[in-house]
Amino acid sequence: MNNEPENYLSEHSVRSWLLTTDHKRIGILYLLSILVYFAVAAVAAALMRLTLLNPTGDLVLPETYNKLFTLHGVLMVWFFLIPSIPAVLGNFVIPMMIGARDVAFPKLNLLSWYLFNIGGLCVLYAVVVGGVDTGWTFYTPYSTTYANGHVVTMIMGVFIAGFGSILTGLNFIVTIHKMRAPGLTWFRLPLFIWSLYSTSLILVLATPVLAITLLAIAVERLWGVGIFDPNLGGDPVLFQHMFWFYSHPAVYIMILPGMGVISEVIPCFSRKRIFGYHFVAFSSIAIAVVGFSVWGHHMFVSSQSVYAAMVFSVLSFIVAVPSAIKVFNWTATLYKGSISYDTPMLYAFGFIGLFTIGGLTGLFLASIAVDVHLHDTYFVVAHFHYIMVGGMVLSFMGGLHYWWPKITGRMYPEIMGRIAALVTFIGFNLTFFPQFLLGYLGQPRRYHAYPPEFQVFHVLSTAGASILGIGYLMPLLYFVWSLKYGQRAPANPWKATGLEWQTPSPPPSENFHETPIVTEEPYDYHPEADELPPEPQHA
């Protein structure tokens, strides 16, 4: 990177990275750390899939299998999915999108990264010294009384990382409120900002309840007495209420940012203003708010009262509507556009398809009568992987390709990108579609061994997982390759309209040489004329 104008990557010392307060560098630090956690969790998943090739599960012992799915869940949820788009792409892009020099509290931002990794190391430590087999849901009284292993260590890891996400959310909320460039009103904001604002609301308002719930578990485990203990008249179901008060909104932490990325990518690669901007923007807020009052649909068979189940069921059905609105608007955006099939767009197509299936199968689980059968089966596993992997991972990959030129100043190899997107899509469907059938047949989740009649579906699923693995490995390789051999990226390779594209790639440390002034609505694309949109005026 010699002979380049000063940019945020110019300084190379380790110290300059570990003590950086630059939101772009912190974004990259997050990218590297979540890759590590993702790799560990993916290995766990691979071992599980291999074990399940055989109905008797001979590859690993039952307790090992249980530790594997706990590790997979904990790492994927808290150390990959939740920080993926917000902490990596959000950190990198938000200040640039709103024309700011940095987030509102850069030191807190760095502190978040350290908290996140201290938490991650706690979790890995708990695994190395013996593992935990409670599942990522830590249901009581198993987690408080009966489970062996280092439950408290792992809980402390999640607890500490939780404060990292609270601070990230806080930082984003304040940044979006207070740091916007002159002229950048709320309805001129890119939809990525709206979706991350909604995400941050959830991070800030839900995570503390998880923290206190986990703390209560740790106290109960260490002290031997607590409110979840049925022996004292406490209630294990109370834990589920409090846990899902966080963990259901957390699902939206994992999908809203993905929706934000898709709302950027689709207008750009169809050269068209997004259809129904206000509806897409407010549907994010609606999801964040209504999403807080649907948690009881995880508890339809938990012995919750019938009336509470009704309330949660109706709210769960309602929360499907804003998601549907988004899908319809994305589709309508394509109408009379000028559509190209670059890698980010392929991921966006994949996202719409898989997210739609994931969302629709959610309706099955919101219908209490059907959920009684499907609850805790592979149907649920397939459903949430369609949202988490089909939705979040695909949109994360799409966003990473989209902003890769901005982040690194290099282009990734386009053909390889398209192939990888296709391989991922195929591998994903082969892995998880059979699991819908398995679930309907009645195969429960978290089973190390299973009746032989289910084997066919497991074999298909494992075969799909190996293809999916290739789909993940390819980008890893060509991204690294592109750092040295990729074409140099211009400031705006996609001819996109966002402010982040109005500054060089990679951007200077202060993001903009002069603070931009915004006078236009976002997504000022023109399908008839395939040309660069007018430059925004500068101060």
Binding site: L205, F292, Y307
Partner: protein, 91 residues
């Protein structure tokens, strides 16, 4: 954030009010009002909290946005309590 300097008298009045409310809440606790005991205790606590938030924490002189954020925490807590208690109250 505006730079309103609150007069000493206001702070002193609020402080006196808070102490009176403290006395009141202890007094009410020793009366048998049935279910109203809890309601009274909570009403007084809410009144105290509102006084502190409005005057000591300067919300009254701040931006509308701060009002929203001050309310958000309590609103979301209400979601948790109301929906979870829907379960326990109808078992």
């Amino acid at each position: 954030m505006s730079h309103t300097i609150v007069p000493l008298k206001t702070y002193a009045t609020i402080f006196v009010l808070l102490m009176v409310l403290l006395g009141l809440t202890v007094g009410v606790a020793y009366l048998d009002l049935g279910a109203l005991n809890l309601a009274a205790a909570m009403a007084i606590a809410v009144a105290k909290a509102i006084l502190i938030i409005l005057f000591f924490m300067h919300i009254r002189y701040g931006r509308k946005l701060t009002w929203v954020f001050a309310g958000a925490g309590f609103f979301w807590l209400a979601i948790l309590l109301v929906l979870a208690m829907t379960d326990y109250a109808t078992r």
